[in-house]
Symmetry: C2
Subunit: 319 residues, 2 copies
């Protein structure tokens, strides 16, 4: 008991006792068993479950980096869950991770299976939904409004005078942020007297090469496309390479717009038209909200992290 007090620096013991205890700690190579602490029920664990769709997508790798760096700085640990973009995987992971009494959960996306939602409500721990901003979250939410970001991009492309527009992205079995962007995008195009003549959703990862061959598919199947909007910058980059390889000039022959403003955009010969999203900051903000809640500080439930259009030079200038 006295040893326990010394180790927690709780006070109420003499210097001599402390010295003796510490000597024994060294001699025995004692490491505390935090499981027992949590188990005793008084303290909460320092685990935070973090679900991420996949790490092949640089966007999510950055978000996770932001989360874990911040959590780590405050002595908390991320327990990772790669959900592969499926609610079923997420549900299974939630069930498993809850059994470990995490201090809280950070989940990518605002959609969860009904049973997952039940478990989350009953768990009685903080939950931060990230990425796709949820204005009426389970508990807390941080991210951006993807519909709006797609809408803004669509409006910008309309202002550049494009009429016949294509989209290249990937499809997943669940509603997600990318589809919200596409919805917003289509709304803007249609409302602006343009037409999304083709939406190509590949069953593949949202990476460079799918952007490349997706563009080939899109252009070979549909005539008269003036501009292509991609799910993210990696795909846009692949598309740009395809167009260049086929001798098309960007933007005079075809416009190319990405999303996410990934690091690769910083070294491209042309500035890629894109949408800047502060991925690292988003992750950090999520971790901050979690940590604040865990230490009973007041936290706003919803935080919009914002986005910013990058006009770039891969689409025509606005009229």
């Amino acid at each position: 008991m006295t040893a326990s007090r010394v180790l927690r620096g709780e006070g109420g013991y003499s210097e001599m006792t402390k010295t003796k205890v510490m000597a024994q700690v060294d001699a025995l190579g004692y490491l505390p068993n935090r499981l027992a602490t949590v188990f005793a029920g008084d303290k909460t664990s320092t685990f935070v479950g973090v679900s991420i769709p996949d790490l092949g997508n640089e966007v999510f790798a950055q978000v996770l980096e932001g989360i874990d760096r911040k959590l780590g700085a405050f002595d908390h640990q991320s327990v990772l869950g790669l959900t592969q973009h499926t609610l079923e995987e997420e549900e299974n992971w939630i069930r498993t991770v809850l059994a470990w009494q995490p201090a809280g959960l950070i989940l990518t996306g605002r959609y969860h299976s009904p049973r997952a939602t039940d478990m989350l409500r009953n768990a009685g721990i903080p939950v931060v939904e990230i990425w796709d901003l949820n204005s009426s979250p389970l508990d807390m939410s941080v991210g951006i409004n993807h519909f709006d970001s797609g809408f803004d991009m669509g409006r910008y492309l309309m202002s550049c005078g494009y009429k016949r527009i294509g989209y290249v992205g990937t499809s997943h079995d669940t509603a997600n942020a990318a589809s919200a962007r596409l919805d917003g995008f289509c709304r803007a195009i249609e409302g602006g007297d343009g037409e999304v003549v083709k939406q190509l959703c590949l069953h593949d990862t949202a990476s460079y090469y799918p952007g490349f061959y997706g563009t080939e598919q899109l252009l070979s199947g549909t005539q008269g496309i003036e501009c292509i909007f991609y799910q993210n910058d990696a795909m846009a980059f692949g598309g740009l390479q395809f167009c260049t390889a086929r001798g098309m000039n960007v933007p005079s022959d075809i416009g190319v717009a990405g999303w996410g403003d990934l690091p690769i955009a910083s070294v491209m010969p042309q500035r890629l038209t894109s949408m800047h999203v502060p991925h690292l900051k988003l992750g950090q903000a999520a971790a901050e909200m979690m940590l604040a809640r865990l230490s009973d500080e007041p936290v706003p439930n919803v935080r919009d992290i914002g986005f910013r259009l990058i006009p770039g030079t891969t689409v025509r200038r606005p009229d």
Copy 2:
């Protein structure tokens, strides 16, 4: 007690009892507390601590994805630790994570602080050192010999007739895989009658833009460089963009070689000379070794995952 047996499906109870127990489970929304199981000391936890230097480097994001997907498929969870390339961070993280009684640890790199090494030995749990193959590991190791991969690249560039060669990478305060590659590379160049005229180690992340401005620094400070070897493909891509932007022709004016064979190489206008490393497979292999050990299957202690030179078209053809 009976409920415990039913929940574990251990047998030794009647169907009626099972039904009654399950009814209560549903009614109460019962979730097991796995902490108690582990705490009781009979079972081991399903946590595996995974230390990764940083996720901004696509290479490590892929390795982590490989690890977590495989672990997840066998109902184990990754507890992440981003060590920012420092042994001190690693040591602190090891101390913390060990207190949670993980089933095992997967660590990036073969170098650890003395105290970390002590803790690892005393922990009595499986440890897999990955990335930089350790032929006499603490416990198990999977990865590649980075010295050799650098050596092979050096020898290849020599066979292409280059003499004056530059290097652009990043520096960290610890010995690591990238420096082993550089060592092997220099050995090959010097043994082949060439010269590494300049090694530029930036204090930055090993990403696109540092490759871009690093190339500028390298070329403006040193005359007559015929070929540049980069720490990874992202930096090489940045360098390639710089050279192209300055009107240099690759490979006739200057050769460019990367390392890692990242996805972006698949859409580049030229095939980047690089070194293929199966990152995802490496992560999976690490997880497999861990899982095998945890289920007491026999496992070889060291596994070389191999690499393969990609000749590409960004350096001259061999003579």
